[in-house]
Amino acid sequence: MSDNIRESPSVSIVHKIERRWAIMMSAIMLILMLTVVFTGLHWAMMPPSRVETIRIASLETNSEFSESNLGSAASKDGSVIVRVLAQQYSFTPQCILLPANTPITFRATSADAIHGMLVTGTNINSMIEPGYISTFKTVFPQPAEHLMPCHEYCGTGHQAMWARVKVIERATFFEMLKRKGANGRLNCVN
């Protein structure tokens, strides 16, 4: 029996079929790669970000992430910038208030361990690491409420670290912000 096998399908046929498969598979992977490259460059669907660092020692007293500066603020170009500080085991603000149909820029960092955040029902998903600032942009299409859990193990209280994102009508949001004055910051509470 074994002699039969050795002679019948000749070596060249075996190699030919195998080579065809290898070429086909490489072509499929190449197409997948080109899709990633195309969507990355053409639709600017690039991962975050440029690397930005922040000194953890001066974080809460004298920085972009000092307490009075956290929450949602208006940018000059009409977009909204929201600054979030993560620490064991809560986010500040604990409930983020944002307008619908408005370009939003998240800026987040950590005061202690590595944290992460995702906003349920959206593609917002980022690590938050001490010493570094995570920046990412999004738009919420309509008013809604979302959960925002920490998604990286940050210590034994990790399971309790949930925040909320409340998206409201654009006009209402900017009206509320106007009442807060020039350097106003918004969250759900005020």
């Binding site: 990633v36 361990a113 010493g131 995570s134």
Partner: protein
């Protein structure tokens, strides 16, 4: 013939014993965080369990299986005794001691940092020293695999290295270099803080080092399964290996491309720029190629078995396959799970899609499907296949083995499919409990409960596996045939010298890793002010 039976046996037994305990912890974790159990009073216990489960399943169990298989393959494929048996025992001792230290530290609640470490959380130094010892012990095995290959090649100039040996050495070198990333992180970043010599640590840099290990370690877990696909399955089901050369190409491809892609674990991280994330995403696509080559070669080899058994026509050979043979069942289950898991993996590797599932339960579902499913089921049949060689007794009861494999397959599918689902629904991973009464979470309760059922089935199947092995030691059937590996359809007369050794591939492996990691690491080291104080975990307990 196996000469150093005790060496191989003890590696396997420590592997499987640790697996059984960690499996029970895993099933308990599934239950305790489900709606079936009230919120755990002390969540620290949950994270202690996750740390023990992960450290065992990631560092101890697969490493010992790879070591056992490597030592067995030296003797069975080169047909000579291992050179350096004493050192092999030293390596085993180091792994066992390291495991003990790590378990003690975790058990006392001083190292609930999960197996991924993630400083600035800092556990007891005993834990990290334990992990280092495990790695050092396995590095002794890496060196012994290389030395045994070199000695054999010197004695057999120009003769092709037997495929099983070639593949095992590839697996050893893969691990040797993979472990370097985490080793640097532990030795130079974490341990100095854990011992109190240093106060601060760069958490972002640590994650970059760990990502170097984190992806390729998965391929190290995979290697014994692939070695079984190529060198055991075709023989066990009465077929022939379709192509010896393509097997070698696949193994060297894993060696070269599984390392320089680890930054795809950091797509959502702020400390790596988009350029290198982009590059690693593109490189990750390459690693699918050796798997796709393997799928072809193994399916073709199985078809040969079907046709040799009289199967005719386009599909007829499928019916003629030996479906009662445990190896046939295992390879089928393994490929089904690899298919689902691989499709999920394509989603993870593309950073546009990754953002929908990063750090959700999808990811845990994914690697349990691939590792606990496609890979561990092959560990089972490797043990079943080698056990008679080790014990000198044949396993009599094939029916129980079939039941065990079926149960494991069903268990893993029931466990992981709902697990993926809740991930897409946005359920974050690594949490001790969830508030299922919350309107946004309540729809996840049912799939989580189904997952728990899968976990319980897996636990049962795992214990059955242990039972079968224990019983096989007392089997009364003495007859044991000589062990053989698969034969290719065309005898391997010669292979290109590049595919008979590793010089070129090791150079490419190291070169590509340095190229893809050099800049991100160097630029982070050069940045000032990124270090943060270490945060002690569980030291007060």
């Amino acid at each position: 013939m196996l000469i150093n039976k005790r060496l191989v046996l003890l590696h396997f037994w420590l592997a499987f014993a640790s697996f059984a305990v960690a499996l029970a912890l895993g099933a308990w974790q599934m239950y305790v965080r489900s709606p079936l159990h009230p919120w755990i009073k002390d969540p620290e216990i949950y994270y202690r369990s996750v740390s023990a489960h992960g450290s065992t399943m990631a560092y101890v169990f697969p490493t010992l299986v790879a070591m056992a298989l490597g030592y067995a393959v030296i003797e069975l494929s080169l047909k000579r005794a291992i050179v350096g048996v004493k050192l092999a025992w030293v390596g085993f001792g180091a792994v066992a001691l390291g495991f003990m230290l790590a378990v003690i530290a975790i058990g006392r609640g001083t190292a609930s940092v999960l197996y991924t470490f993630y400083p600035p959380m800092i556990g007891s130094s005993i834990y990290y020293i334990g992990v280092v010892l495990i790695v050092v012990g396995s590095w002794i095995w890496v060196a012994l695999m290389g030395v045994n290959l070199a000695i054999w090649k010197r004695d057999n100039p120009g003769v092709p290295v037997p495929l099983p040996m070639f593949a095992c050495v590839a697996s050893a070198y893969l691990w040797g270099w993979t472990a370097v990333g985490a080793a640097i992180e532990i030795t130079f970043q974490i341990i100095p803080v854990a011992l109190g010599w240093k106060h601060n640590i760069d958490a972002g840099l640590a994650r970059v080092f760990y990502s170097w290990t984190l992806h390729a370690i998965v391929y190290f877990w995979l290697m014994p399964a692939y070695i079984a696909y190529y060198t055991i399955v075709p023989r066990a089901i009465g077929g022939r290996l379709y192509s010896d050369l393509m097997a070698r190409v696949s193994f060297v491809m894993f060696l070269v491309v599984s390392m320089p892609i680890g930054i795809h674990h950091l797509f959502a991280d702020p400390q790596v720029g988009s350029g290198f994330k982009f590059m690693h995403s593109v490189f990750t696509a390459l690693v699918a190629i050796p798997t796709l080559l393997t799928v072809f070669t193994i399916c073709a080899s199985v078809e040969i078995a079907g046709r040799l058994r009289g199967g005719k026509g386009v599909m007829g050979w499928l019916k003629a396959l030996p479906w009662g043979n445990p190896m046939m069942l295992a390879i089928t289950f393994s490929f089904v799970m690899l298919g689902f898991g691989g499709a999920g993996g394509l989603i993870n590797m593309s950073y546009q899609l990754d953002s929908t599932i990063h750090n959700t339960q999808w990811v845990t579902g994914h690697f349990h499907l691939i590792f606990a499913g496609a890979v561990v089921i092959m560990y089972f049949v490797i043990a079943y296949d080698l056990w008679p060689q080790i014990t000198g007794r044949a396993i009599a009861d094939m029916r129980l083995i079939r039941v065990q494999l079926w149960l494991w397959f069903i268990g893993i599918m029931v466990l992981t499919i709902p697990w993926h689902l809740v991930g897409i629904m946005g359920m974050p991973r690594r949490m001790a409990y969830f508030d299922y009464t919350n309107g946004e979470i309540s729809s996840q309760a049912l799939p989580v409960i189904v997952s728990v059922i899968g976990g319980v089935i897996c636990l049962f199947a795992g214990l059955l596996f242990i039972f079968i092995l224990v019983r096989a030691h007392r089997s009364t059937v003495d007859l044991v045939e000589d062990y053989t590996f698969s034969l290719p359809i065309h005898r391997t007369e010669s292979v290109p010298s590049a595919l008979n050794g590793f010089r070129l591939w090791l150079a490419l492996m190291i070169g590509l890793t340095l190229f893809n990691y050099g800049y991100p690491i160097a630029s982070l080291i050069a940045r000032p002010d990124t270090s943060v104080p270490g945060i002690p975990i569980g030291q007060g307990h």
